[in-house]
Amino acid sequence: MAETALTQTGGTLARPEGWRGIAADWASDQRSFKTASWGKTMMWIFLLSDTFIFSCFLLSYMTVRSSTTVPWPNASEVFSLHIGGQDVPLILIAIMTFVLISSSGTMAMAVNYGYRRDRFKTAVLMLVTAAFGATWQKTTMWIFIVTDGLLFSGLLCGYGFLRQASQLAWPPPGEVFSIPFIALMTFILITSSATMGTAVGASKLGDRKTALRFLILTIVGGAAFLGCQAYEWTHIIEHGARLSHNPWGAPQFGQAFFILTGFHGSHVLSGLVVLTITAIRTAMGKTPAQGVEMAGLYWHFVDLVWVFIFTLFYLL
């Protein structure tokens, strides 16, 4: 399957440039996404579905926030640090954002270097291949399944908490949610599954040493971000915030905070594991450029999610 997907579509007609290419892709009686590899398409589908989940988190947070009857805590005060005898608002969050943006930059460079040097035409087996007998694509699929499973568990836990914590009778879902909406969501999901059958990428290659260097920088950045988040959590917990209550106001605030940042943090952690494996394999000369690119896509996605959490949770 991987061989089929990675084969160049030799013999097919050249695709027109720009917007005409979109029409040509769907109208030319052949596969769409001809120049996208199976792995890249898979990663984009995962990112899309993961974005849906984060959208749900952010929207449920906004719903909780806008519907609560007690004042919402001031993020500038809650997330301030005591430095040099005075409170500096949002300083830790600003540092975390900076670190994450920087690591996204180094990751993008790692992808680029990977592209420039990698001359291995044949598929190289992963470290994990030896352990699990899985191909890179299959491993990616498993990473997807595991992380998505974690996310959905979290989503259900969050729902359970909100339901448990609600003082009012929990409304019947049929009245709260629009069933056509659920059906449409399902439709979108199926549509995204249909895009699975898309194919083919051409790998340009890159400088392995520099790729490794920037991968390590990315890992360091990610670890630093995670460390900051661990500190922030400790800070907040020491001030008495719990899932069920917090000293600043609406009890839902704690839930929204822990669940949103917790899941983002678990994404960062997953990304670090992927990056570490990618770095080790790059050092061994075993990572095809595509492998680095998959890890990169995931990492940028973690950054992308943070942009939203940062704005909607911390700033608004």
């Binding site: 979109i22 954002t97 943006i101 420039r116 942009v307 940062f310």
Partner: protein, 114 residues
């Protein structure tokens, strides 16, 4: 990677993007300091949040160099989903708020700060 990007050095785009993201982030943090009207602040932050997201998607995740089709699918999926979520959840959350505000006028109702 386009020929144009190669001509300007392969990594320049990442660091230019990084710089712009940094500037926007600083601007967003600074906006908090000024006492803008709430609506303006929200609009400002949301617009720049979307600009940042677009830059990360386009430049870091290479969406602008990908086949248009791939970028189109991702964008359309996100737009449709956010439109649906927004249009269904916003009226609901506003009506919940309105419903909670009503009993606050009654003497037995719990404390309420709009």
């Amino acid at each position: 990677m386009t020929d144009e990007a190669k001509a300007h050095g392969p990594y320049r785009i990442y660091w230019v993007t990084w710089g712009i993201l940094l500037i926007i982030t600083v601007a967003m943090l600074a906006a908090e300091k000024f006492h803008f009207p709430r609506l303006f602040l929200v609009l400002f932050l949301v617009v720049f949040m979307l600009v940042k997201a677009t830059m990360i998607g386009g430049n870091f995740m290479h969406l602008r160099y990908e086949q248009r089709n791939l970028a189109f699918i991702v964008a359309a999926g996100l737009l449709v989903t956010s439109a649906i979520l927004f249009s269904f959840i916003t009226p609901e959350s506003l009506s919940v708020r309105a419903r909670r505000s009503e009993p606050a006028a009654a003497p037995a109702a719990p404390a309420h700060h709009p």
